[in-house]
Amino acid sequence: AASRTTCRWGRAGAGGGAWRGRAGADTVCAPAQGGGSAVIDMENMDDTSGSSFEDMGEMHQRMKEEEEEEAEGEAGAGEEEDGEFLGMKGLRGQLGRQVADQMWQVGKRQASRAFSLYANIDILRPYFDVEPVQVRARLLESMIPVKMINFPQKIAGELYGPLMLVFTLVAILLHGMKTSDTIIREGTLMGTAIGTCFGYWLGVSSFMYFLAYLCNAQITMVQMLSLLGYGLFGHCITLFVTYNIHFHSLFYIFWLVVGGLSTLRMVAVLVSRTVGHTQRLILCGTLAALHMLFLLYLHFAYHKVVEGILDTLEGPNMPPFQRVARDIPVVSNAVLNTTAKAIALTL
């Protein structure tokens, strides 16, 4: 009997019925501690100030055992009435309050936990409702500029593709940092890459959304995130190719063609959703500049500089950015020229 953990309620009263679901699910029903006396002291039963749930369970178990031992009707009938009376009375006291409080807390905790977990996931769920075919189609479309800019173009508010593209960009950056033979601790490399890519995606999206709000463009935040995210597809392709084939001219060609195509697409979609020449100019100029400059930054900040690497092999304490410092003045003019041309082209 001492090892039983079931709470036996001899007479299920109104309050006891409510406990049916909870009894035994947690530790409230403690096992009975030894046998009880044959006579139940009614004054002790009435003492509800210090009685706990376990004591009530224990007392009821004792009562039940006594009933089983006796197996006569008359004593059982007497006990039954007392038991029922006891049950109702015990509930109304402090015990009832304690139990109700406990149940309320447990229920509230479970409900809030479930709500916070499932509500958070469910908010994002519609943005992940895609098929692989759709993702592939959108990836290819992100490189094709639309021609019709008088009619607002549809942007799919989807977050799976952009998120995967950001992670792919992180992976490509890490791969590129290795092929550039930079001797850095992998930890800061990883942190830098993740911070750069996510910072660009989230930060520039927010900034462009703010500008779009100022310029009265019809675009939501999720659409902006999606648009910019898919624009990173061009970046991924360019960096993947040029990290393995180290030619500056090849990089510039890719930068113009691939970067330009994805910029054109983003710009065209934005233009189709904005009215007014000044607003269109502001939005598209900013987006084009940021997009193209980011690709440049990624290439030159993380790229292996063939000319400078022999000069900058000054030891393992060299942080990576100083490696390219020598190269930048050499190409800075060319960079500025091509950047200006690219911006003029996109406008």
């Binding site: 953990t5 001899g10 007479r11 039954e80 799976y160 601790r185 990883m190 304490n317």
Partner: protein, 217 residues
Amino acid sequence: FPGLADVSISQDIPVEGEITVPVGSHSPDEDFSTLDEPVKDTIMRDLKAVGKKFVHVMYPRKSSALLRDWDLWGPLVLCVSLALMLQGGSADSKDDGGPQFAEVFVIIWFGAVVITLNSKLLGGTISFFQSLCVLGYCVMPLTVAMLVCRLVLLAGAGTVSFIIRLIVVGAMFAWSTLASTAFLADSQPPNRKALVVYPIFLFYFVISWMILTFTPQ
């Protein structure tokens, strides 16, 4: 319902019953017996469960044992050992150690959480911890690759050793990805398997990259 009008319940028939809610799936006696058993038995049982899961990863078959009784002991051991082995790979011997261990740890667990969330958002039927368990256990081939890399680097750090390490890490990376795909892809709707496999591929690629670029000072 005319027939029910005659039903009457006598007042002195008590309503009685038993509220017996099963505590867990076993009888309470077994719970008490696991409390009373010697500690060695408990530890051996857990170790056997962990070992069985390792065997499942070594030979990936479509079995549900890995998913049903998930535990995070194996992933923790693997993650800690991998992070410890990746320590000391920086060129600066002055201030290494701390951030590197933490970065590896954080990346493994953060990556696993992101993949799990992604698979749940795509409509997967697997639970959060089951997915974490599978991803963590499938890091085992990469831990083995790390061991092999360290041994190879003891012999020398030339081009040949780099090629050997590349082959070993590449093979283990493919093994990890296949093993975790075998477990996780089944829980997805059939036309979205590729969407779930791709982040797993990226995750193990990043870990493989960390292993391959490890150079002891």
